[in-house]
Amino acid sequence: MAWTRFSKKKDMPGGLWIKCDDCGAMLFRKEFEARHRVCASCGYHFTLPGRERIRLTVDEGSFEELFDDLVAEDRLGFVDRQPYGEKLAATREKTRENDAMIVGTATIQGHPCVIGVMNFQFLGGSMGMVVGEKISLAIETAREQGVPVILFSCSGGARMHEGAISLMQMAKTCAALSKLRAAGGFSISVMTHPTTGGVTASFASVCDLLLAEPGALIGFAGPRVIATTIKKELPKGFQRAEFLLEKGQIDRIVARDEMRGELARLIAYATGAPFRLDETLPTPEARVAGSNGRESQAGPAGASGPAVDSAAGGDDAAPGDASRKARSNGRRKPAAAARKS
């Protein structure tokens, strides 16, 4: 079942080749990474580690991390097959992160914002006291600085090991959003694969704008729970981003390579700042063709002249949506259509 896809370690193997979880295509690892973990064959968006998400989204060198020293405590003395305290310590050691949330200030094509990214590598991106607190602090920082807040979710939901404390993080994050809204602030939620449970049922669903990556699993209950409850097979594409768009639950689906430009544009609409229609990320082809595999991030939009890489788009030079569509066509099959399960 699709649900198990992201929990396997096989999306980070040591070998040269990677098998696409979705279409089964063999992907050359370097190219796969250069494409920021998007399958070249079917467009499937693999879960992106939190730090990589930030690198991919914000202007190079602009990210200043905040509240990174917050850590969770095992207040319940929770023991399943291992005490939660030990599990936390081991995960901190393994991931070199203090918890499942990274927040800070940054600029996106020159537009200042507060960004928060859930890190699925840390206990499935589950929301406990640290995640809830950092999301709330991120929202409050945005309110104080008068800039938009962008929250990327990627989470299995609330962290069971913190019991009802983690449940109340749903209320805490919504409390912060309520204050932001009253103060006239602006928030954007980007739901990525997977976003479920208490995360979907709190801040991620009530930001001003709701975006999703193609093919992302987004829902309240996990598909397994639903299938068990109703004792029926779930319809094709159920709970995928495309399904949510069709049901009117989200504003837009944005592909990973277009997220940065799209966010810059949306922030500009929210803040009234000017933006340039030709400022979007270069195409993946341009990146792969580039000498180093890893491209340099485009400079701040406020600077003179066009973004560094925008010329690399070649004949995709048409501005705005037109060029976006032109780039999407033919290269990327809609993820849902290509999905088997």
Partner: protein, 333 residues
Amino acid sequence: MTEHKQADTQQNGLGFERPLLEMEQKIEELKRLAQSTHLDLSGEILALEERLRTQTAEVYGNLSAWEKVNVARHAERPMTSDYIQTMLDDFVELHGDRLFGDDRAIVTGLATMGRHRFMLIGHRKGKTVKDRLACNFGCAHPEGYRKALQKMRLAERMRLPVVTFINTPGAYPGIGAEERGQAAAIATNILEMFDLSVPIVSIVIGEGGSGGALGIGVGDRVGILEHAYYSVISPEGCAAILWKSGEKAPEAAEALKLTSGHLLQHGLVDEVIPEPLGGAHRDPQGTIQNVRSRLETWLDELTALPSEELKEQRFRKFRGMGLPVHAAELAGS
């Protein structure tokens, strides 16, 4: 008590009730015998009743988390409909979310209780099999949460406080629920409740099942009945995920610290409302009376507050739940 009921208790995790039920049955028999034979058995009956009291106190004073979950789920535990019938002087049910339908898993309406008037919003589980099916066993769909919000906004316009009764295993996980935005409906309620300018009092009267409970649970005062529970996930669900076996639900219930005492200790509820000896199902009237008296106090306190202060206190309470520590503090401990 019937044998049928005793068989039930074994299946639904209420095995600890068995000796109590047997003793209750014996007392009933003695009373009947006394009546039919005109023998004076009052001494024996009194002694048995005393023993029953002691044993009930002992059993209920030492319930495990899992046993409490099963008390919270007890079929004879007073439900929202019982509170409506017994506690209120008047109730005008109001239907519908104005968008899709009328979810019977959540009942809403205008209520009068003595000198207090309020908007009552409560999960409804149903008493009979037919009722239970109609109410979907207390598992609301998005339209239930949207109905609740629509009535909360109405209460605000009418300057009436909101009282919510929480008693749900959880919001319903189904295809239609997902299609219509279950997560968004709950999230919207939580967000909007912070913005509501009238007092909100929430009481967990049975099961506080995760987001489905919190979706009507952002209260200025949150009370929980002594043997009710409030949890991030059902013990069965937690056991299935972390223990890879639904049969480990008792262990999961223990680990989740979902009982009223623990919730109070962690500052997640404001007060535990005591239940009569032997649980709410033994004395629904007594239970409802306890709830009523807390409600009256809270409504008196809250209606005296200006709405801005009310909202600010509500914000501060939930904003302060589960504060993490700094890494340096952890290393030092």
